[in-house]
Amino acid sequence: MSDLFGKLGGIYLLPVALALIAFVLIGAPSSWLTLTVAGLAMGMLIFLMASGLSLVFGLMDVLNFGHSAFVSFGAFVAASTLAALSGWLGAPSILLNIAALVLALAAAIAAGLLAGWLFERIIIKPVYHDHLRQILITMGALIVAEQLILATWGGTPTNVPRPAFLEGSIIIGDAAVEIYRLFALVLGAVVYLGLYLLLNRTRIGLLIRAGVENREMVESLGFKIDRLFIGVFMLGSGLAALGGAMWAGYVTLITPALGAEMLVIVFIVVIIGGLGSIQGTLLGALIVGLSANYVGFLAPKLALASNMILMMIILLWRPNGLAPAAKGH
């Protein structure tokens, strides 16, 4: 029984099983399709935000409570860029539309990379290997970052314009699927593929995976893990900013509290998925995204607690998460 389960894909079947159970419970195929696409899109966006956090922890045992600050930065930078380019967004030319979107996402990623570099140098460097102070300091940094965002963009909710070609929805059968969600889904999948290739097919990826498994050994072979770590940290913050930017377009109304709200979801995802592996993070993100949408439809009252209950169940079953990175030490 468990062999068969393992051969079929093991824990990676969980999202599929979730979708099947939901299909039976919901009954109507059209609502099921809408909800599933929404859940997968949400999961992909959360994956973008969470992947960096998970990798950084795997590589350096650094848990960054300020990670969600990058999400907020990305969201607000993208919103400002889009607002500044609103002429392009409204233009009938699809090329100008795409240019505006690409510029906004690029600006968000650049802001994320820069913020990540500063954060690593100023905040995290002095407290490597000291968990207690790490948690405290990154928490302090989150407060400061949130206040800076509040000071720059103000406390009132900011409207995020969407490019015209991503507005509206496609009708499949009698189910309406928002184009923006499909776009988020595709973008997330592309990023995952890119990360997967980077980690599994390149020399740097090899070093990163080796570093996650046994840092001291890689160091003693003469590789500079510290330098690699900055790279991974910046990559993670850039992805978080991209996730934030996409999220801003997804919800279309953002406040400075966005980061703190996402922090909890991101944490739940990396705990469920297991720290240190992007496969686990993707798995956790998809499960959380799907179940949030299904539960929100089936039992709205339960929606608030559903993530928490999900995490409890999975932790009881697998205390280290579903697919944690293999740790040599």
Partner: protein, 352 residues
């Protein structure tokens, strides 16, 4: 020993000032500050049991505080003023807090410290959302106001003079407000004393051993998970009691006063400022932070007004930016004075 004596002296002086607060400071706002300090000393000390003595980082401490507060608030709201709802409400609040603490503890204290921090953060945010959603019980975002036992009414005459009027001692009227203040003070003092005893007991020594070297403590034969869960429960129960007391004092309970994440940040700041791992540090940290909360904002307003003509400065000194500065101070403290005020004085003084 000089350092230890200085810190203990300072903490005892603060307690003495709190004891005579109604006589020393007769302004309503000052009494409010004194009561808040007393409550937060307990809250911070109970948090220090976790973070300072055992090395557990929890972000759910306000959640337990809020459970006590909401327990009393809901009981008083539903049953009307009286002592029964106060007792019942606190008992219920403490019970819920303990059950949740046992659950979270057994589920997650066996894994890495960092997991625990994340899980408590998630739990606290869920409880906060639940409390604002179930508005028929909790009053939602607005919270709820209620009446407390008659003893605490300002019109209650605690002591009367020969003519049947409220007796004044040293210019202070012996009315219900005084009774309420001493209710808060006595409970806080007793709880603080109890925690002080815990840290001095064999249990406290085991906790320190776990903080210093978990594997070795386990090796000597102490069941680390059981001890951690126990101290988590003690801290949770104490926080819930502090919350219940604060709810009686405020006559109002809402997310902002009992559950919000900003209270958690306050507690963290107080523990770090005062010094982790010393109960006396909690007294100093809580006092300084509460005073800063009430008076530093006014000062910032004055400073912002005075520098109105200089560019940038007034923007930075704007009272709304106060959390920004607290964050910066917090980071600097963790870098340069990780042992806080009390810890630094003790180290310096004892070396000399």
């Amino acid at each position: 020993m000089r350092g230890t004596l200085t810190v203990k002296g300072a903490a005892l002086l603060i307690w003495a000032l709190l004891l005579f607060a109604p006589f020393l400071f007769q302004d309503v706002r000052q009494i409010e500050v004194a009561a808040r300090i007393a409550i937060f000393i307990v809250l911070v000390a109970s948090y220090d049991l976790l973070i300072g003595y055992t090395g557990i980082v929890s972000f759910a401490h306000t959640m337990f505080f809020g459970m006590g507060a909401y327990g009393v608030a809901i009981a008083l709201k539903q049953m009307g003023p009286g002592w029964t709802p106060v007792l019942l409400g606190s008992a219920a609040g403490v019970a819920v807090a303990l059950v949740l603490a046992v659950g979270i503890g057994l589920l997650s204290l066996r894994v890495k410290a960092i997991f625990f921090a994340m899980i408590t953060l998630a739990a606290a945010s869920v409880v906060l959302v639940l409390a604002t959603q179930f508005s028929q019980f909790t009053g939602g975002d607005d919270g709820m106001t209620y009446r407390t036992p008659d003893l605490f009414k300002p019109a209650t005459k605690l002591l009367v003079d020969a003519e049947g009027k409220v007796l004044s001692i040293a210019g202070v009227k012996m009315n219900g407000k005084i009774a309420a203040y001493y209710f808060v003070f006595v409970i806080s003092a007793v709880l603080f004393w109890a925690m002080l005893r815990i840290t001095g007991s064999p249990l406290g020594t085991v906790l320190k051993a776990i903080r210093e070297n978990e594997a070795r403590a386990e090796g000597i034969g102490y069941r680390v998970v059981a001890y951690r869960t126990a101290v988590f429960c003690i801290a949770a129960g104490t926080a819930a009691l502090a919350g219940a007391t604060y709810a009686v004092w405020l006559k109002y309970t809402g997310p902002q006063t009992a559950l919000s994440f900003s209270i958690m940040i306050d507690i963290l700041l107080m523990v770090v400022i005062g010094g982790m791992g010393t109960m006396w540090g909690a007294v100093i940290g809580a006092t300084l932070m509460v005073l800063a909360q009430y008076y530093l904002r006014d000062l910032m307003e004055v400073a912002a007004g005075a520098t109105a003509n200089i560019p940038l400065l007034p923007e930075l000194l704007n009272p709304e930016r106060w959390l920004l500065w607290l964050g910066v101070i917090f980071i600097l403290l963790v870098y340069f004075f990780p042992s806080g005020i009390a810890g630094t004085i003790i180290q310096k003084g004892d070396k000399a």
